[in-house]
Amino acid sequence: MKTDDKKLIEQVLKGKKEAFEMIIKKYQTPIVNYLTRMTGNYNDAIDLSQEVFVKAYFSLNSYDFRYKFSSWLFKIASNLCIDRWRKRKIKTISLNHSLKEGKDFYLQVSDKKPSPIEKYEKKELVKKIEKAIDRLPLDLKELFILRHINELSYQEIAQIKNIPIGTVKNKIFRAKERIKYLLEKEK
């Protein structure tokens, strides 16, 4: 973990609450981005972000210095996000849903015709991708966001979700191919 984080956390644990402000400033953007993409609602994401940091502050004693602080923070965010879904009973796809899907989207793509992806204008394509992310099954969506929006390593994601790195890689691969499939289907 970065020395900066370690120093700040030690200061907070010694009673200097203001040091936590630096931690929030550092991680508010990645957490807000993660939660906004996950919930699809900015206001919900802001409420959840507050909960994440408050929970992190009051659980700081249980933080293990061997792990990256960002991983620990994302773990809290992920757990809170899932809890929120369960409480609100938002229409969700089973977390294992995508694992059971037998389709291999990438195999269906013909390599002879030019791909529709190449026909999109850049700005339009970005917007379509954002919509496609929203349509991903939850587990794929979360791992994809952690990897490609928050730019975390596979190792870090595996730690956050407590799953093998191979599973992480596989699911993120499937997420990308699903996005590509959705883009082509729409064109």
């Binding site: 929030i24 953007t29 972000s49 791909s115 990308k176």
Partner: protein
């Protein structure tokens, strides 16, 4: 070499492969138009994903979280400025009133400031009795205020007397509002 698996193409594009693998892949790509095309598509996809705009958190998020952790924070400079401003407006208003309606309003004002001073005097005496340690300090203070009132009473010039009263009231009100900031808490909390 047989055609590349798509996950390998992603690994190649994301730099998740060894240098040996990279050489192998590049060798294959140079002779396989199908894999080159698959790579080109995935490259566009990954580049576009990188273009997804970042969402900015609201500017007050840090303060909102810190408020939940350590409670609302008061800006003491702000509190002081507010107190001073209110007292200044009050004094200015009093001076204008004194100039316009010398007799009637000035006597009311004089009574008000006298009462204010007397109240403080009694409070001071009470505190002096309550806290043995600072008894002496409050007795001296009471004496000073008392003497001051007597001095003011003995002054012959009404205008000078009023001017001193205005200054004194300003100082006292500034102090009082500074201490009693709680009713203004929401306005004064840092944004």
């Amino acid at each position: 070499m047989k055609c590349l698996e798509i996950n390998k193409i992603y690994d190649y594009l994301e730099g998740e492969i060894s240098s040996e693998e990279r050489i192998e892949i590049e060798k294959h790509l140079s002779v396989c138009p199908t894999c080159s095309r698959i790579l080109r598509e995935r490259k566009i996809l990954l580049e576009s994903i990188k273009e997804i705009p970042k969402i900015e958190p609201p500017p007050d998020l840090v303060n909102k979280i810190m408020d939940k952790i350590i409670g609302p924070r008061i800006s003491w400079v702000k509190v002081f400025i507010y107190s001073l401003s209110i007292s200044f407006i009050f004094s200015l208003f009093s001076i204008i009133l004194l100039k316009v309606t010398k007799e009637s309003v000035s006597s009311i004002f004089l009574n008000f400031t006298n009462s204010l001073l007397n109240t403080i005097r009694y409070v001071t005496i009470f505190l002096a009795k309550l806290m043995k340690v600072i008894t002496l300090i409050f007795k001296v203070l009471e004496q000073i205020i008392g003497d001051f009132v007597v001095l003011l009473k003995s002054m012959s010039s009404l205008e000078l007397k009023l001017q001193i009263m205005v200054i004194l009231t300003t100082i006292i009100l500034t102090g009082l509002i500074f201490i009693l900031y709680f009713p203004f808490k929401k306005i004064l909390v840092k944004t």
